[in-house]
Symmetry: C2
Subunit: 211 residues, 2 copies
């Protein structure tokens, strides 16, 4: 059996995922994808409709399981019956990010970067497509944070969640906003475990800061 030759659509998805992460969406041409996937140029449009829709398919294949993993973490926490802390909620999001970044079968660190960059950049191609899964995610975390931080109003919580998730996605996106040299070495936000070590205290402090 042809274990090394999945069907056409899957071959396209696999190659496209890698190339989109490596070179970005715009810099990746359909001709590059179809050549490496060993399929005809028109196969992309036949199976996915357009380059835009291919990107959406690449993204949607991974994002569902990721969101499910976050919600499962939330479920486990909430079933304990105890009052949750902001730190527990932050970790419930970061842990699936780490797990995903260490699982090559689901895209690995490259997909985490793609996901984070796409969300941070609020990519036009996903504003509509994401809404369904995304809104469940946002609602669950919003109500969890409202219970964890009862001293703040709903609007304050919303702002802080905006900031918290923008730091976290940015950290995993790996686009260093600053280039800071410490002892002639650039401090670069790429190693997942180092990110988490510094990220969690920062985010938790921001979320819980007195008004």
């Amino acid at each position: 059996m042809e274990v090394n030759k999945p069907d056409t659509a899957t071959r396209i998805l696999d190659v496209a995922e890698r190339l989109f992460v490596e070179h970005g969406f715009e810099a990746t041409s359909l001709r590059m994808i179809t050549q490496q996937a060993e399929v005809n140029l028109a196969a992309v449009n036949y199976h996915f409709g357009s380059k835009d829709a291919l990107f959406e398919s690449v993204f949607m294949r991974r994002i569902g399981p990721f969101v499910a993993a976050c919600l499962a973490e939330l479920d486990t926490l909430e079933q304990s019956g105890q009052a949750l802390t902001a730190e527990q909620l932050v970790v419930s999001f970061i842990r699936p990010c780490l797990a995903l970044s260490k699982d090559p079968a689901r895209g690995g660190a490259l997909f985490v970067r793609l996901m984070s960059r796409t969300l941070v950049e609020n990519h036009r191609l996903l504003r509509e497509a994401l809404n369904q899964q995304y809104s469940i995610f946002v609602q669950r975390y919003t109500s969890a944070f409202q219970r964890a931080l009862p001293q703040f109003g709903a609007e304050d919580i919303a702002w802080r969640m905006h900031f918290a998730f923008s730091v976290m996605f940015n950290a995993f996106a790996g686009n260093d906003v600053l280039k800071i040299f410490v002892r002639s070495q650039v401090v670069t936000a790429r190693d997942p475990d180092m990110i988490v070590k510094h990220l969690v205290p920062f985010v938790v402090a921001g979320l819980t800061a007195p008004i």
Copy 2:
């Protein structure tokens, strides 16, 4: 006198700035720009060399004065001779952002968004071009934060500055990472004054959090 007709290069810069912010770099074609600027298609390549170089010129026209404004704020603070707080440093960056966003003559809120998005996304076109001005900016803020937060090592400061500036740029980029509904209204990070009111406490708390 033709007050409404600046020279060709300036007309191109003005139109390009607006279109890059409204539609993004890739989605803005030279034909759109030259048509609206009422110049010939070839004028862009004649005056700027390429579409990439045009983007760089659009950016560089505004970024110099902005960086200068931040450094002037730092100068004023440091001349007081008093020990500075993290909050003062955060405000010294945010105040020029606000001022710029309210000055249409220097690009206004649209340029603040363009600047923030470009930096957050670590745009390939500016990684090299920005380095000169940017490195002065980073060095000044790094040493200022090291003095304001002497309890932390250089590496911890670097990480926290990464996170702090990524939140701030993200906030001004206006790409809402989350869509949170409060009383049926989306809490959206677009109004500069509202951003600052919530942003400063979050960032300062993150920067000063105990390890």
